[in-house]
Amino acid sequence: MRISWKSVLAGVALAAAATVSMPAQAQDATACGTDKKIDIAEMTWPSAAALAHIHAIILDKGYGCNVEVVAGDTVPTSASMLARGTPAVAPELWTSSITRQWNEGLDDGSVVELGDAITDGTIEGWFIPRYTQEANPELKTVQDVIAHPELFPDPEEPDQGRFYSCPPGWTCELAGTALFEALDMDATWNLFSPGSGGALAASISRAFEREEPILFYYWGPTALLGKYDAAQLDLGEVKPDVYACNTDPECEDPPGVTAYPSSPAIVGAASWVKDEAPNVAEYFGKVGLSNAEISKLLVYGDENNADAEATALNFLKTEKDTWTKWVPADVAEKVEASLG
């Protein structure tokens, strides 16, 4: 292809215009502030995927940023963000499984925490279905349930109970295994690892559809806990030291019993976002949602078979009161106009 001088000139003129207008834009509270592509990580679980699309629409339509949603997952996304500054933003990052690397990144200034993704903390724990608890009202704490393995038989070994733990490699797998040991469940229970998040959700869904008893680990906010009525079992108080040791494969101390600490889900970003696009950074400081709000968002997606983008659009259309508080008025107007 031949290069036409006209287009080169036009390009130079445009670039010059852009340079001249830069300071003016930076002062404007509604401008994106950077031409760099802001890539937002869409994690594999539904709440983070929907959040990624919500933020992408607002940044694109409201602030006029160059936005792209990219696929990601906790470990690869954070590793890439720490090493190369891309993806630029992870709208729901659970730092508990990557504590060490993340804190090092915060210290050396390669990443920043722009705000909380979930304002009232996250839920994590052991659950049984509500109907099982109603049929057996004495099942209140984890210890009560452990005393009755016969209520939760393992199909592959019916004289033992089965506890559905976490997929391999997740921090909760270590925590679940340690609790299993600390609670002395080995003689009467089998620790069952479902192998993947999808298989765990399918197993739980199967039990609820068939109204069977099941003892399982799960976390919130998730569509699954929004859809099925599960009772969380009392694991006693949170002992941060014990939990830290339970989830550290190097720790030599015997595992102890502790509840799950509410792990922080934050908006993580590469530090260049804060430096080059302060408006965007400020925006992410305000976008926290509560567990209830996220569950509501997810139940819509689940019931209507909506994908993450459709869920995000529905949120923007129906929850104006929530998201218009995150942005200046004229940005909100621009986003609303784009929704049609």
Binding site: V75, E156, A199
Partner: protein, 289 residues
């Protein structure tokens, strides 16, 4: 964008609700139907785990020697088994082997007759070929998650997934092997007044056997390739170690378990291939091909 002709949501809702209905009402029936398969798998697994490690060394090395009558293959087998033992992967390797053996045997029971039927009737072949393509290309999680909901997580859906993925090569190669039997040989056997059944069992299957054995070899390899996916729905074994390694960024754990899968693959691949070559030699078609 493509214009929206119909609203697909009702269809998708119907499929999801239909699956939930099946889980609620037929779950027990399906689980009971798959029970014999599970019992067989558990039997194989118990047998492998109860056998002392040195006996497994002796048996596999012996089979390797019988297949080749040379010392090289038994040495390879012993080294591969030593790797599994030394790397503390023995138990996981036996669980994986049990799954692979059960899946392969089930595949042979289903796949051989299917392949023969396909070779016999072209119409069946026209129907089955796209289904076999589908079985090999449909991403396994698409049917695995419904299978987990129907059968519960664990070995049954893992076995199903492995069979679905590993059966096509055996079916295809059985079909191909039988159809490739030399027409002159068929003509000659007909001239001797054989009936179709005699021709099938006396001429076609024996002559197609090396090709069928290649199919069994492929099935074994594909069953081993599925172990990581099988572990993602609760089957345990070597794949589980791989998943743990990936999830925790412990490259070494993933690498050793992955090499363990390779070690198993080498053992079973070389042994079945050696038997295939011996058979070809015996039939006298080794040079002809």
């Amino acid at each position: 964008m493509f214009p929206e002709i119909i609203d697909t949501n009702p269809l998708r809702n119907a499929i999801d609700d239909g699956l939930n209905w099946v889980v609620r009402n037929w779950g027990d029936g399906f689980t009971a139907a798959a029970k014999p398969l599970l019992d067989f798998l558990n039997l194989v697994q118990h047998l492998l785990l109860a056998t002392p490690w040195w006996l497994i060394f002796v048996i596999l090395a012996g089979i390797a020697w019988l297949a080749t009558r040379r010392w090289q293959l038994p040495v390879v087998v012993v080294v591969a088994l030593l790797f599994l033992g030394v790397m503390d992967l023995w138990e996981d390797a036996m669980v994986t082997t049990a799954l692979m053996i059960t899946a392969t045997l089930t595949t042979i029971v289903i796949g051989l007759p299917l392949g023969i039927i396909m070779a016999r009737w072209a119409r069946v072949r026209h129907v089955l070929t796209p289904i076999l393509d589908l079985m090999q290309t449909l991403p396994s999680f698409v049917y695995l998650i419904p299978a987990v909901m129907i059968f519960g997580p664990g070995k049954i859906p893992a076995l199903l997934a492995t069979i679905v993925y590993a059966a096509p090569p055996l079916v295809r190669l059985t079909d191909l092997g039988i159809r490739q039997v030399d027409p002159a040989v068929m003509e000659a056997s007909r001239a001797f007044g054989t009936n179709p059944t005699q021709r099938l069992f006396g001429v076609q299957i024996p002559l197609a056997f090396p090709t069928i054995l290649a199919g069994i070899n492929q099935t074994t390899m594909m069953a081993l390739a599925m172990v990581v996916i099988a572990s993602m729905i609760g089957a345990g074994g070597l794949g589980y170690q791989v998943l743990q390694g990936i999830g925790r960024l412990e490259v070494s754990r993933g690498l050793f378990a992955g090499l363990g899968i390779v070690a198993l693959a080498i053992i079973f691949d070389r042994i079945t291939q050696a038997y295939g070559r011996r058979l070809q030699g015996r039939i006298g078609i080794a040079e002809a091909r």
